[in-house]
């Protein structure tokens, strides 16, 4: 929806007044402004985090700005030292292998074969948690982790934001 609208307006030069903001950038902005208080001290075990840069959101969508925000939020939530970046990264990151209808359209064997590249890349980071800010990526990465015997947990961002949230005394 997000990408389709964005790209449609862009490609056909449709005049509009919309501003496209990912919720990730909103989190980042609120944390920077101090309106959303987070504390990474919950992560005593030092769970290692990495993330996926979804194609539609980053490379084809809003570019590296949102990918940088994603890393900022993860570091704020899980601790600076607990973030392990992948390579390649940002706009140059690998596709999860589940896009273009591959998840919905059958061809499971093919889809998993494409996903092998993503799996190897994520596994090489040694992370315990992979943040996937896209439902499509989420389902695919969840599946390839299970299929190829990965050890990480595949989640969205908010699951951990909730853990780190500092509730104001007055609230």
């Amino acid at each position: 929806m997000f990408y389709a609208t964005l790209e449609g307006l862009r490609r056909f030069n449709i005049p509009h007044k919309f501003e496209f903001i990912s919720v990730i950038s909103l989190y980042a902005q609120l944390i920077r402004e101090g309106r959303l208080k987070v504390d990474s001290s919950w992560n005593r075990e030092g769970l290692k985090f990495t993330c996926q840069d979804p194609c539609k959101l980053v490379r084809q969508g809003l570019g590296d700005v949102v990918a940088d925000d994603l890393r900022f939020v993860i570091k704020a939530v899980a601790g600076e030292e607990n973030f392990v970046d992948s390579w390649p990264r940002l706009s140059n990151n690998y596709c999860c292998g589940g896009g273009g209808g591959a998840l919905q359209a059958g061809f499971v064997e093919n889809r998993r074969r494409y996903g092998r590249v993503k799996f190897d890349q994520l596994a090489s980071t040694g992370a315990d948690v992979v943040i996937t800010p896209c439902h499509n990526c989420h389902t695919q990465i969840l599946d390839i982790c299970d299929f190829y015997g990965g050890k990480w947990k595949t989640t969205h961002l908010w699951n951990w934001l909730e853990k780190a949230l500092v509730l104001d005394d007055k609230a």
Binding site: W87, P88, L90, S91, N92
Partner: protein, 1024 residues
Amino acid sequence: MIRPEDKGLKGKEQMSRPKGSVLVVGGGIAGVQAALDLADSGFYVHLVERSSAIGGSMSQLDKTFPTNDCSACILSPKLVEAGRHLNINLMTLSQVLGVEGEPGNFRVRVRKNPRYVDPEKCIACGTCAQKCPKKVPSEFDLGLGTRKAIYLRYPQAVPLKYAIDADACIYIKKPGRCGFCQKVCPTGAINFEDRPEEITLEVGSVILALGFRPFDPSGLDFTGYGTLKNVVTSMEFERLLSPSGPCMGHMERPSDKKEPEKIAWLQCVGSRDVNRACHGYCSSVCCMYAIKQAVIAREHSESGRLSSSIFFMDMRTHGKGFEAYYERAKREGIDFHRARVHTILPAPNENLRLRYSGEDGEIKEEEFDLVVLSVGLETDPEVMKLCHSLDVELDHDNFVSTSPFTPVATSRPGIFVCGTLAEPKDIPQSVMEASAAACGAGSILHESRWTETRKKEFPPEKNVYAEPPRIGVFVCSCGINIASVVDVEEVTQYARTLPGVVFAQNNLFTCSQDTINQMVETIKKEGLNRVVVASCTPRTHEALFQETLREAGINKFLFEMANIRDQDSWVHQKWPDAATRKAKDLVRMAVAKVRGDEPLPYNHVSVTKRALVIGGGVAGMVSALSLADQGFPVCLVERKDSLGGHARKFYRTWQGRPMQDYLEELVRRVETHPEIDVQLGATIEHVEGSVGQFRTRLSNGFEVEHGVAIVAVGAESFKPRSGPWNYLYGKNPNVHTLLELDQRFIRDDEALKGLSQAVFIHCVGSRVPERPYCSRVCCTHAIDQALKLKELNPEMDIFMLYRDIRTYGKREYIYQEAREKGIVFIRYDLDNLPRVNEQDGNIVVDVIDPIIDREVRLHPDLLVLASAVRPRDDVGELSKLFKCTMTEEGFLLEAHMKLRPVDFATDGVYLAGLCHYPKPVEETISQAQAAASRASLVLSRDAVPAESVTAVVNVMKCTGCAVCTQVCAYHAVTIDKNSGKAVVDTGLCKGCGACVAGCRSDAITIKNLGNEQIMAAVEAAMEE
């Protein structure tokens, strides 16, 4: 564009002569060559360079292809010559602000930026840089090394003068804070009060030679450049290899200073990429420099275990000697992968893992410890701004626009361009264009030749006959070229012990301007009367050192060189002790020989001011016109009955310009030019004489006296009538060569429109064992023809069967266009040649398409063979007449592949066009203009220097047997009718020694190479 005020000026100054001086902007090899050509043919040159030293990109290179010459070593003599030239005003740290006026009369505003060091006082001792506390990244080393705020651009810099970088200098930023350099400078050269200065020059013409900058791959994130430490650009790798670079020539990778053992080169980074890099053109030089780096890196590898891989799309080795270089690299074990690497991943130990799709379509992974990005060439934005302000038009890639028929003229009359500023190209091509641009400037200003130049005066020579030998020995370290192997200090000490030697000294670079100046002082101060330089080769440096002797008032023949580099340190790297002993031997021999040397006279030959041009094709006609337009008479000889040559059969240039219109105009101009005498239906029968005074007899009995000759006899198109490359040629009427199809285009053959399928086979007879070179022109020509067929009939199916597409430079765009228009390219190799058969009179072509990995059958109604350009069979005889040499393939061989691309080793004879190597029309024209420029160096003078080392006859011993007259290749020896003894014409004698060997009475010797000197050297060699 001419401004209104300039038009007013024209009225006033119309009658006055043009200016006799030229502005050359850019001090790289192209600018320096243009400046030298002009200054040596009667013009005063202002050479403006932005940085603190001339030399340009070539000075940053380690070695050059295809000869593997040390770049600094071949460049340095030219730079020194330009730096010392009386008629070149070298302005470093200077920028052109604007040019007003018109051809013959330009006013140029130049800003001279402060150096803060007085060049008159600086002796380049380096004390200032030692004391300077401020370190900044060195731009010459592309940030891989550091320099001080007061610095020399590079060790052999010309001028060899320090400069202060105002942006880094502590004192200039905060006066009173540092100033150490000023305190320690022994000559008081530091001047913090130096200020920019604006001056106005009056010149007749302008040459732009601003070069290129290497593409910056930071934006291409998939390469990891800028993030991954061991990903470097090719220019950075040149510095890593260079002895004057940040790791002193001991190849180290940036992350851990470890010697790499596995290096990958990635081609086309910033070239042939319309997606991310926005540069659709091919940079023309990267394939060759990558192979060169792969080969040289192996030589640098101390472990000897280096493995090199080159990842490429098409291997473009289209120049003279390039294909052989490529084949040699393959044999030596360099790995070539036809693949575009899409991913570079960090691997353990800061290594790099490359992922790419192999030719079989499988994804492959391989780990390397260093990745070199073969970056392309682009125009510096600063240079673009300058071109805009000069009203010089740029093309959409920001190179200066030129036309194929006027390859060095810009859109603004009187302003010329040469080198990579017009299109990416290699050094020989840039040098050729530099001479062509000089020719262009010369043709506007020829009336004013010698009006603004100054003449060199040497001090009177000291008479040394009566003196005992006082020999000075200068031992060169050549950076580390010699000193890393030979113990130069020990050799210097040893030289002091030799008889006759009164002085010996070791220098870092004996050829640097600073050392040369010191040598003059030393010769005077020590009263030396003989000099030995133990350094590199006389081929490049003898003239420089000899001139140094003259400046010190010593006859230049009282000089010897001991080649302790090429013949010692380079070849005995693994045996330093033996190399040091050999260096001593060589020095001892040179000292023994120089002891017996005598001063010789400086001979001159008066110049017959006429040129002989052989060949009436485009190259010959353009050279003839270029000389005739400068007022020099020309005799143009063509063996056929009409002018035009192969161009008669040529339809259009790849830019779409019709050839026949141009040719018609060219022929008309040649035929009606009052200075050109055209001799048709004639060949060369006999040649005598040498530079300045040739006498040539033609087959029609006509005799020409001329001072120079230009050989432009062209080449032939290979016709595969039989043998493996036959492909039904001559058997089926629908099989053509490229030129045969061109003739159908010229005829406007309607039948072409009705064709349904055309197939082109590339490399027919090129890049094969019997003709192992690339014919350079055929890829572009074939693709242009395919596009023409598509114009005639857009529905036609066209297939190109190729090995590598070599559409170098901007030609890449027609390759892109061809693919856009649906022309299909199928690659084949020598193991899987296309098979062409006839079935019921129809052509059937079978070829394996490697992408789908299966055989494809085509049924063309037109089969075009892009056949080789081959040298003419009779070129060998012609070359013998002029004593020129040929390559193995039968093309004529120039004096130096890199820096003398249009000269022959024989003085006064030049070459142009296809007889040199296959080339497109724009390169033929620029080479023809270059040959004319080189020829004008002789024709513009009344006399040229002749050989001093000539044969001399001892009349007491001569019996007049006349054997010497028969063996002399230069007809320099005759028998005097009165005395009956042999006499030598010193104007013709080349000092070759053939007569000495032939003489049965021991009556002829060569001056300074007689028994006395040679035996002294031989005896010295035997001593211990």
